[in-house]
């Protein structure tokens, strides 16, 4: 191979390769830097991810989309976003004043819609997932008022379920935003959680709920309702409760891999 054999003929190669991946390939160069429009595109995607992390949770948006379903609003022990990001322990505990407002009952399930790391994901997909999942549950189930939780991580659901006497909790939470997906919702199912004792190994999770690019509401709700039925039967969630479907396994692992090599916990 000599340099003279390199002839310019394949300008159209990159667009055809982009069919196979969302990775930012074939960006071209200006010296060693990026072309200006690619640099600005990257900054725009980063800005969307940052804004998703820092934009405030608006419970009214979710409550309106729930169209009259009863809701309760709570906050975690993290007083503001800055504290929330640095103190995951506070994001896992209810503000003591709010705990007293939670309705106690013989609930089969309580749905918690938690801002996590992306309010945008929760505003866009939270209510739809609650409605889609509820619609698939047996009518005999006692479904608690939907809890809308601010500055909340996944384990806040443990505190909520235990305070309300709910048999299981489903937490819909905004996932850590990537630059290609700032609006991804996760769902975590836990049976009889005990605050401070229950671990992530005791939960089942579905990630990347984000139609049309990620998991659809119908598919996600179907899997979730199926898992809830089995959880009630076996009185267990987590590593002991397996879903048969392939996608569940892949997304569960995806989340695990996304969290490793350091077992970071994203929104949990």
């Amino acid at each position: 191979m000599t340099l003279s054999q390199v002839v310019p003929v394949e300008l159209e190669l990159w667009p055809s390769l982009r069919r196979h991946t969302q990775a930012r390939i074939g960006l071209g160069r200006a010296g060693t830097g990026l072309p200006t429009h690619h640099r600005l595109e990257l900054q725009a995607a980063h800005a969307a991810a940052k804004d998703a992390v820092h934009s405030p949770f608006e419970p009214d948006v979710v409550a309106a989309a729930l169209r009259g379903e009863p809701t309760v609003r709570v906050r975690s022990a993290a007083p503001d976003r800055l504290t929330y990001l640095q103190r995951p322990d506070l994001g896992r505990r209810l503000d003591p004043a709010d705990r007293a407002h939670l309705p106690v009952g013989e609930w089969d399930v309580v749905f918690v819609v938690a801002d996590g790391l992306s309010s945008r994901a929760v505003h866009e997909h939270g209510a739809a997932m609650v409605r889609a999942t509820t619609a698939l549950l047996p009518t005999a189930w006692q479904v608690a008022p939907v809890v809308l939780a601010e500055q909340a991580r996944v384990a806040l659901g443990d505190d909520v379920a235990s305070a309300m006497g709910a048999a299981m909790v489903v937490v819909f939470v905004g996932e850590r935003p990537g630059m290609s997906a700032a609006d991804s919702l996760g769902a975590y199912l836990t049976y009889r959680p005990k605050p401070g004792v229950t671990t992530d190994a005791d939960r089942n999770c579905l990630s990347n709920i984000r139609p049309p690019l990620g998991l659809s509401y119908e598919v996600a709700a179907g899997k979730l309702a199926g898992l809830m039925g089995r959880a009630r039967e076996l009185e267990i969630t987590g590593v002991g409760l397996k879903d048969e479907s392939d996608h569940m396994e892949v997304s569960g692992r995806l989340l695990q891999v996304a969290a490793g090599p350091h077992q970071g916990e994203g929104a949990s």
């Binding site: 055809s16 969302q22 290609s180 350091h262």
Partner: protein, 462 residues
């Protein structure tokens, strides 16, 4: 346990153990605050540093931060301590050791490395400024080899990271082509797979091995799966070049990763037995990062940087080809912003190098940390000056599989250009042979040409 005291600004400060003293002397970081170990004021932090400066290095041998009886990493550190190599600094305090490191030459640093423990190195780093960490690390040379040689003076290698969220072979190959055309991949072509299933991992290994063989690329591949998956695949004849594992600085944190020293011993022997290297026989690839022990609730009250340095004692046992600190990966509860991530990157690189490891970095952040691409550029430049062996590179700096931001192939080209760094020698020769190296040693832009490598792309696009 000893107590340590110091007086500053009219206040007396008391630290109940060596571990407490080390934690209080650490620069401000969110992880130590989360763990309840951070100094409670700026003055207490400096008071701790004054006290730490007077601690003799021998104290770290006498008072392990995690007991010998309960932790196999502590046993590894103390049982393999090289007293002969330690002699050169055995009479020093931490403060004197800092000055010795700043004045030492490359040969002296190499000779003392086996005599140093992670705690000594972590301690001295707490007395150093960022510039100190760069100045000392720059003098250290750790050279390793498999099919390419990593760590030579004036060289910077890169990991080409063609991840894909569903391990789609076409998507991986497209990203692989992108990286190769930008001159990346001499440290390793490494994929974080979406699943740890042996079948999926084997498919990716064969894909990478096929490309490496087809183009006779002097590099190595790695699919970053659990060590047990690699062992299983090696036993079944899969083309495993390097064995990967995430490791941490305590027995309990390693257990949370599903590994023991015994398991790593077995994997190391198995990989060496394959004899797949051509210019060297370093077969292990380890990843580490501050915060993992705290995240696993396995830190034993030791600050996150000291625990991180202890992971390097684990790595050192296996003569790795590459050790990579994934510095900003976990999130702002451990390293809050660009300033904390930069400091941690310099500390990790310094500690690893001084202990004798081929240190590279994944200079990265998550989108919920207070950092951006300017922080990447700053870190990259400082780590380039500090002589990092390699850096991780992703397409456009955006990893679509792990959802975090890292350095890009462009960033590596920038660093090589501004600092006059070159790729690994074998890889550089290959780049020239395939028409990717310009006369001045720069990577030629062959986009829009029928370069032979683009056969990969043409086949995919067809």
């Amino acid at each position: 346990m000893s107590t340590y005291t110091s007086t500053l600004g009219g206040h007396s400060y008391r630290f109940g153990s060596l571990a407490r003293l080390l934690a209080a002397a650490s620069p401000e970081r969110s992880g130590d605050r989360l763990a309840g170990l951070a100094a409670s004021s700026a003055q207490e932090r400096v008071a701790a540093r004054w006290a730490l400066a007077d601690v003799p290095l021998t104290a770290f041998l006498a008072e392990p931060v995690i007991p010998y009886e309960t932790d196999d990493v502590t046993r590894l550190i103390l049982d393999t301590h090289d007293v002969g190599a330690f002699a050169a600094v055995a009479g020093m305090t931490v403060g004197a050791f800092r000055e010795w490191l700043l004045a030492a030459d490359t040969g002296e640093l190499a000779a003392v490395a086996p005599g140093l423990t992670p705690e000594m190195v972590a301690a001295v780093s707490k007395l150093m400024g960022n510039a100190d960490l760069v100045a000392v690390a720059r003098k250290v040379r750790v050279v390793t080899a498999f099919r390419s040689t990593i760590g030579l003076p004036g060289r910077l290698a890169t990991r080409l990271q063609p991840n894909h969220p569903t391990d789609d072979p076409a998507g991986v190959a497209a990203a692989l082509l992108d990286g190769l055309l930008l001159g990346s991949g001499d440290a390793v072509i490494g994929i974080n797979p979406a699943t740890d299933s042996p079948k999926a991992v084997r498919d990716l290994l064969e894909l990478l091995d096929g490309v490496i063989q087809r183009y006779a690329i002097p590099t190595q591949s790695c699919v970053l799966s659990h060590v047990t998956t690699s062992m299983d695949l090696m036993a079944r004849g899969a083309p495993v070049d390097l064995v990967f594992q995430s490791i941490a600085g305590t027995q309990a944190a390693n257990a949370s990763f599903g590994v023991t020293l015994g398991l790593l011993d077995e994997a190391y022997e198995a990989a060496r037995g394959l004899g797949r290297g051509t210019v060297g026989s370093n077969v292990m690839y380890f990843e580490t990062g501050q915060g993992s022990a705290l995240s696993a609730d396995a830190h034993h009250g030791v600050d996150q940087q000291t625990v991180e340095a202890r992971a390097y004692a684990v790595a050192r046992r296996y003569d790795p080809l590459l050790v990579n600190t994934v510095v900003g990966f976990i999130g702002p509860e451990y390293l809050y912003d660009g300033r904390q991530i930069l400091r941690a990157a310099l500390e990790d690189h310094f500690c690893g190098k001084v202990l004798g490891l081929p240190m590279g970095l994944d200079i990265c952040y998550t989108n919920h940390a207070d950092a951006d691409d300017d922080d990447i550029a700053t870190m990259l430049t400082m780590l380039g000056v500090a002589g990092a062996s390699f850096v991780i590179c992703t397409p456009g700096g955006d990893d679509i599989m792990l959802n975090y931001q890292s350095a890009s192939y462009h960033d590596a080209l920038y660093l090589r250009e501004v600092l006059g760094l070159r790729p690994a020698p074998e890889f550089e020769t290959w780049l020239a042979s395939i028409g990717l190296l310009g006369e001045g040693g720069e990577i030629r832009d062959v986009s829009g040409t029928a370069h032979p490598l683009t056969a990969i792309g043409r086949e995919l696009a067809a």
